[in-house]
Amino acid sequence: MKIKITGDKIFRFSAGIIVASAAVILIASVYILTTGSTEVLQRFGLDFFMGTNWNPVEGRESFGVLPYLLGTLVTSGIALLIGVPLSLGIAIFLAEMAPKAIRVPVSYLIELLAAVPSVIFGLWGLFVLRFWVLNYIEIPVNANLGWIPIFSGTPFGLDIFTAGIILAIMIIPTVASVSREVISAVPNSIREGAYSIGATKWEVIRHWVLSYGRSGILGAIILGLGRAIGETMAVTMVIGNAVGPNAMPTSLFQPGQTLPSLIANGFLEAPTPLEKSAYIGAGLVLLLLSLLINILAHILVTRVLKVKGGAVE
């Protein structure tokens, strides 16, 4: 029997290859990072994940990524804490309140913000934002609330807090523009139904629009979180780049380090195969962290929908 080759079959085959290649790239990345970090993982085992030392001196080598793992989580956490409310406010204003003459240009500007290279954010953070944060936030907060461990130390401006703020600014375009799309896609019939039973504009937004769009908004936040976790250049320029036990994020106002900034700072200068392997191991931890957070977020999104009725879509 002859198999007839049609356009549909060719399309299906080529589409299949493209889809498969996405999975192959992910698996290949995990594989390469795992083999690359075998040396450091065999030598230090669990200590690589739980240890706080980072000492490349020959004969005294010790590598642990815990401070950078925590630094990544803390800076990304600050970014979400500050960036998400701002982004949602922007999205709600643009989608629900702004007249068209404001909505269109401002939406465009916010999306343009996503096109600013991260090194530019880094430069601005290093030369401008750092001093604002230092003078107007860190010094006053430290003076008054310094007894709280996370505000202790000697504020310097190049630290975990500044990195978190830079990240917050960097995730705003993504979170705000995706959320705006989500809010705009909420059917008008739902708003009208809510108005018809005596809801105010704010109540309509809070109880109906945000509730209907919650899975999309969660998705937007996850996209933002992905960017915050992986962001390298801008963070490297403002976080202070502490290494070893000093990099443990005990206070927001002291220099820290994230996994990406650790790799960016040290990788090229790693002289020994073991140290190189340690940096690749840090990359593996970063990739696994990203995957884990995405999977958890996915579960969260589907659970939230199921628990609350599952009627959205």
Binding site: E192, A194, I197, G198, G309, A311, V312
Partner: protein, 254 residues
């Protein structure tokens, strides 16, 4: 038929941007009867009822002039809060629009919760009573926790009616409430409309003249944004005064 006046529009004009949708409408709506608004598509009948509970102004660039009186008070007066008007003048829409993120129970309770009602027996009772009034209770009483969108289209529309009734309105506006429903569901809603007229003032927009004849006591015929004729339904259908009305109800255009 002699009844008191519940609502009245005086020289009401409505616009969407530069486009005028209603022209100098003066119409009296009587209490505890069903008033039908009929007319061809685009004649302004939906716009008209949306001016009666201040939903019209939610459309960007929409505005009105003239007065709409509810119990003699102009609902467009500066000191009037549109939220309060919408509680007194409820609305049911063309396409059933139960809140998809809420259960059947919460759909009905939503308006009361906005007004500050707390969970409990009192709220349960109002929800039950509203669903009973909307003749939906027996069909959903075991499924109150299911999503409002999990029931059939006709049931959804009755749920929307229960939702409107729960906040205890005085007037109920219905914008072609059966246009998305099958004949059996339509018949149920029509029976329900007749029952509602015992306690509420009902204004229904319909493009279906048989429906207007079946359910309404008074009928107003709109054409190109103008009120052409208004009168008791039987008189208007049997003995129209305007030639336009006659042409429309005999199906010569529309």
């Amino acid at each position: 038929m002699d009844t008191t006046e519940k609502m009245k529009t005086e020289n009401l004009n409505a616009w969407f941007g530069p486009k005028q949708a209603l022209k100098e409408i003066t119409l009296s709506i009587k209490a505890n009867v069903v008033t039908a608004i009929i007319g061809p598509s685009g004649c302004g009948k939906s716009t008209f009822i949306r001016t009666l509970n201040r939903m019209h102004e939610l459309v960007p660039e929409a505005r009105i002039s003239g007065q709409v009186l509810l119990d003699g008070q102009n609902i467009y007066a500066d000191e009037v809060d549109p939220v309060q008007i919408r509680r007194r003048v409820g609305m049911v829409f063309q396409k059933p629009n139960p809140f998809p993120t809420m259960s059947i129970y919460d759909n009905v309770a939503a308006g009361l919760k906005l007004a500050g009602a707390k969970k409990g027996q009192a709220l349960d009772e109002i929800v039950q009573k509203s669903l009973q009034q909307a003749t939906l209770w027996d069909e959903v009483k075991d499924d109150l926790r299911k999503p409002g969108t999990s029931i059939s289209g006709g049931q959804q529309q009755r749920l929307c009616i229960a939702r409107a009734l729960a906040v205890n309105p005085e007037v109920i506006l219905m914008d072609e409430p059966c246009s998305a429903l099958d004949p059996i569901a339509t018949a149920k809603i029509e029976t329900l409309i007749r029952q509602l007229a015992e306690n509420y003032t009902v204004v229904i927009v319909t493009h279906n003249m048989q429906q207007a004849a079946r359910v309404s006591d008074f009928t107003a015929f709109f054409y190109l944004g103008k009120l052409i004729e208004y009168g008791e339904t039987n008189a208007l259908f049997e003995n129209p005064k305007s030639e336009l009305t006659e042409k429309y109800i005999t199906g010569k255009f529309g």
